[in-house]
Symmetry: C2
Subunit: 295 residues, 2 copies
């Protein structure tokens, strides 16, 4: 398999799905729709929809019922970035080399565009009922989507992260932030793919574990790159954690242990795949790629 | 009927339903849960859940399937207030005589608490599937909930309101803001009650019209009270529109015409009820009360 080509194809497909659910920039709400579209189209790897679709395919999911959820999870991810960047939060002016939403549209519109994205994500996911009304798994998938993005998921991790900014944090707190802020949405992506394809509860809970390990490994890798990475290659400032006096996995455990944990977690994720008899070269390669491993 | 007593009973019931779906203030997310609970428990008339339940009862809705939606719509209403009050928006420090959420918990937590409330509202509404999984109307009710709160509902109205602050606005723009910012959530409350009780599409669309007229009349009445009302009785500052140099219904049409329109719209709402053979003394009294009419 040519991984690069396979990834490109999947990214293109994810983008086409997302585009399908974007709104037309017209009417009295034009400005917020522009801000929403700007935020989504500012780029991004589309990792979550790609993971969702791949997992859906692994479990032989059929039809287009996964598509509204692919768009929805990217919208939730985007809303979280738009709100994170706000002056009252991280006060970031650039993301992926582009001006952040609030910097272009104003702080008030930045708040409203984030709200609009979260609302729109659920509206979009609900369109799955138009595609397959009888599908009993839709409400289950919706519950996962909202649970993993809310207080007991992504948002809960963000809350602790904000609260502890500038403070010394311990390994339990860091683990909590990683599990919720980053891993929850990776878990969600893969679990929803599996649920929509009709996987049973036990399998879905194994998939959740894979998502968790990949998500945490990915976040540790992000902390490592903040120390060792190249600003241009990464497309974002490095050493930002140090500048912000932020406790990270690297400051708590050191680079060597951090790298070991990345390797261990990603290997464990792949081992669970094997135990489920999942043979998916693309997913395996993607996981390794995400955590910076060559094999 | 003793309207005051009937309203008290319904308010108490709405509060008990809302309380059932609040989260325990514990764990690493404790602070945001506190902020969420503070925001919801800071008061409010519970108008939207009361309207929802009354409409549900009018159409002979049975069981508790309406309860998660009652809590959900109050959470959405609350999230919109929490975000509206933010420094980057209306910069309000007090609401209903209490400190606003961001003033108590900080601006960052104000943003996150609003996000948490919107997310939680959908999580809560989804619990209706645990109560009545086979109910085919749940996805329809969810669609109304999210559509009426989103870009083509409440949020869209808020966007135009924010954009036009300090500017002269025309009657079309004001109508748009009233219809979306206020009326959409009143429509939603009543429509969801009807849908969950199994009312047909045609009836639901008549109910939408009632909600629209009541919502717009209610908002015009609010503009009138801002000019003529008493600060202590209202529990909020008066003449704020004038101070903010804000175009309102009253500045556009004058007090006399505004009052006429309130009377006309509320009468039209009651006429539609009659045409549907709805005899509900409480709802009729509530509508009149909302718009400041004695009969």
């Amino acid at each position: 398999m040519n991984f690069k080509k396979a990834l490109e194809e999947r990214t293109e497909y994810a983008n086409s799905v997302i585009n399908k659910y974007l709104l037309k920039e017209e009417g009295y709400q034009k400005k917020v729709i522009e801000a929403v579209n700007y935020s989504i189209l500012a780029g991004g790897k589309r990792l979550r929809p790609i993971l969702m679709k791949e997992t859906f395919d692994i479990f032989n999911g059929k039809g287009e019922v996964v598509e509204p959820f692919m768009a929805a999870i990217e919208m939730i991810h985007t809303y979280s970035l738009v709100h994170d960047d706000l002056p009252a939060m991280d006060n970031d002016k650039y993301r992926r080399g582009k001006k952040t939403t609030w910097l272009v549209y104003g702080e008030d519109m930045g708040i409203l565009a984030g709200d609009a994205l979260l609302n729109l994500s659920v509206e979009t996911a609900l369109k799955a009922f138009d595609i397959d009304f009888e599908n009993k798994n839709l409400s289950k998938a919706l519950k996962i989507l909202l649970n993993k993005s809310g207080i007991y998921g992504m948002l809960g991790g963000q809350v602790l992260d904000v609260e502890l900014t500038g403070k010394k944090i311990d390994n339990k707190q860091l683990d909590f932030i990683f599990r919720l802020k980053t891993a929850a949405m990776i878990e969600s992506s893969m679990m929803i793919g599996a649920v929509l394809a009709g996987a049973d509860d036990n399998t879905v809970s194994q998939i959740e574990k894979i998502g968790n390990k990949v998500g945490v490994a990915f976040q540790i890798r992000d902390d490592i790159l903040d120390v060792t990475g190249d600003e241009i290659e990464l497309g974002k400032p490095v050493k930002s954690d140090e500048k912000n006096n932020k406790s990270t996995y690297v400051t708590l455990y050191g680079i060597e242990q951090s790298q070991k944990d990345v390797d261990r977690l990603s290997s464990e994720a792949i081992d669970i795949m094997k135990s489920l008899n999942i043979e998916d070269e693309f997913l395996t390669s993607l996981i390794l790629k995400l955590v910076g491993r060559n094999k």
